[in-house]
Amino acid sequence: MTRVRLPYHLRTLAGVDGEVVLGHAATLGQVVDALEAAYPGLRGCVRDPATGRRRAFVRFFACREDLSHVSPDDRLPDAVVRGDEPLLVVGAMAGG
């Protein structure tokens, strides 16, 4: 299983409290695929639907590492893949 911690606005949009738990996912791309499949209202909110790229003000962290710039196809840390640690989806601090 994969644990994902969403920011406030995406939790509200998905209608969830706390972490969401997804099926097995080994890469960032697989996590986002699973997230969008489980919560269709989140489609396009984490990555641009036209380009597939992470939205500029969305960041990914896990295991005290910034994973925002890793390839969607790179393997996530084992602790995330095992479900020991959550993947954090963070809205960048910007704007008013």
């Binding site: 406030y8 489609r43 639907p49």
Partner: protein, 371 residues
């Protein structure tokens, strides 16, 4: 008892204001989608309980929300606004080519007859349509692929398609307006488009007969007279009596003919409302007085409506989609301001009162008349 539902989009959420036909006491619900920019909220004329909202933000992109119970509950629907084919380029502010990029939905125009059909005007300018209740959206790409498309440029707010007017009986006829390209008309339900900007004169365009390049801010039409269009341009209040074939200026008598919204009385097709703003450099009302101006002659002669509106120290703006009318026997008029006030008039503009005073900046106001 008949009533009114006023749908308000703001910088930080949506609000639903409800009253009976007296329009004296209002129930306020919201914020819906708190923290998100709500560019537009509009109900279906065919099913007033079905309401659409454009929800967006710089962090998480575009969401379209749909309510099937008059705004009590909402659910996201499809939000994939993919341009048809390779979208090409338009002009950037500096005149260089810039690729078409989707930013947000500015305006949602539900079908007059089918609750599942909606047109959406987006930035970068294009027109989309859903016929399945918002699950999927397809571009009516004939507009973006109009031969003038590569020459379109954004206005200060972005290159947005902000106005969609549907002919009341001819489903093939659609009018749109784009900042800062101009107005367009389709007679085949959006497959092909004609630029309808003859007679518009825009400062800074060397060619007085330029087909595009006009910063149209808003347009309005009365359903009983669909060939007559009213336009608030960047500067100039204009009128066309031939479905946009030609335009003439009807702004004489206004303290400023710069402004954003324009609307028509529900029962009097020659009664038109605008909100003059000082200038394109100073986006506040002239003299610090918020005045809605009304013409009962289809333009050309205007009277200030001030009773109940702030007449000193008022420095708010009324944006292009932030004025609406209801269809009760005594036509109601509503304006929302960037200061967070929504003012309502139950008597066609003769008197006004604030419905709410302290919302976030208002982006849009629409009125539903309830049976």
């Amino acid at each position: 008892m008949a009533g009114v539902r006023v749908l308000v989009g703001t910088r930080k959420g949506a609000f639903v204001l409800t009253s009976d036909e007296r329009r004296q006491q209002w129930e306020v619900s919201g914020p819906h989608f708190a923290g998100w920019e709500i560019y537009h909220v509009k109900g279906s004329p065919a099913d007033p309980d079905r309401i659409w909202a454009s929800q967006s933000g710089g962090w998480f992109g575009q969401v379209i929300q749909r309510s099937d119970d008059g705004g009590a509950s909402w659910a996201p629907v499809g939000n994939d606004f993919a341009y048809d084919g390779v979208p090409g380029t338009h002009q950037w502010y500096d005149g260089t080519p810039h690729p078409w990029e989707f930013a947000r939905v500015w305006h949602l125009e539900p079908s007059l007859t089918d609750p599942n059909t909606v047109h959406a005007g987006v930035e970068d300018a294009a027109l989309f349509k859903t016929t399945d209740g918002g699950q999927s959206w397809s571009e009516l790409s004939g507009l973006r692929e109009h031969g003038s498309g590569p020459h379109w440029q954004p206005g200060a707010g972005g290159m947005c398609l902000h106005t969609i007017l549907l002919h009341p009986s001819d489903e093939g006829r659609i009018f749109t307006a784009i900042s800062a390209a101009g107005a367009f008309r389709s007679d085949d339900a959006g497959s092909s488009w004609t630029a309808i900007n003859k007679g518009l004169q825009s400062e800074g365009i060397p060619d007085p007969d330029a087909e595009v390049g006009h910063c149209v801010h808003n347009m309005a039409m009365h359903p009983s007279r669909p060939d007559t269009l009213f336009m608030q341009k960047h500067w100039d209040v204009m009128r066309s009596d031939d479905a946009g074939g030609s335009w003439y200026d009807v702004g004489d008598g206004l303290p400023s003919d710069f402004g954003f919204p324009i609307d028509v009385h529900a029962h009097e097709p020659d009664t038109v409302y605008v909100v003059p703003i000082t200038s394109d450099s100073v986006h506040v009302p002239p003299d610090g007085r918020l005045r809605v101006y009304r013409s009962r002659t289809g333009g050309g002669e205007w009277e200030p409506l001030t009773n109940g509106l702030p007449q000193e120290h008022c420095y708010v703006n009324v944006l292009r989609d932030a004025m609406a009318v209801d269809r009760l026997d005594s036509c109601g008029v509503y304006v929302g301001t960037t200061g967070g006030q929504v003012y309502g008039s139950p008597d066609g503009g003769d008197s006004w009162a604030p419905i709410v005073r302290d919302l976030p900046a208002v982006l849009s106001v629409e009125a539903q008349t309830l049976p």
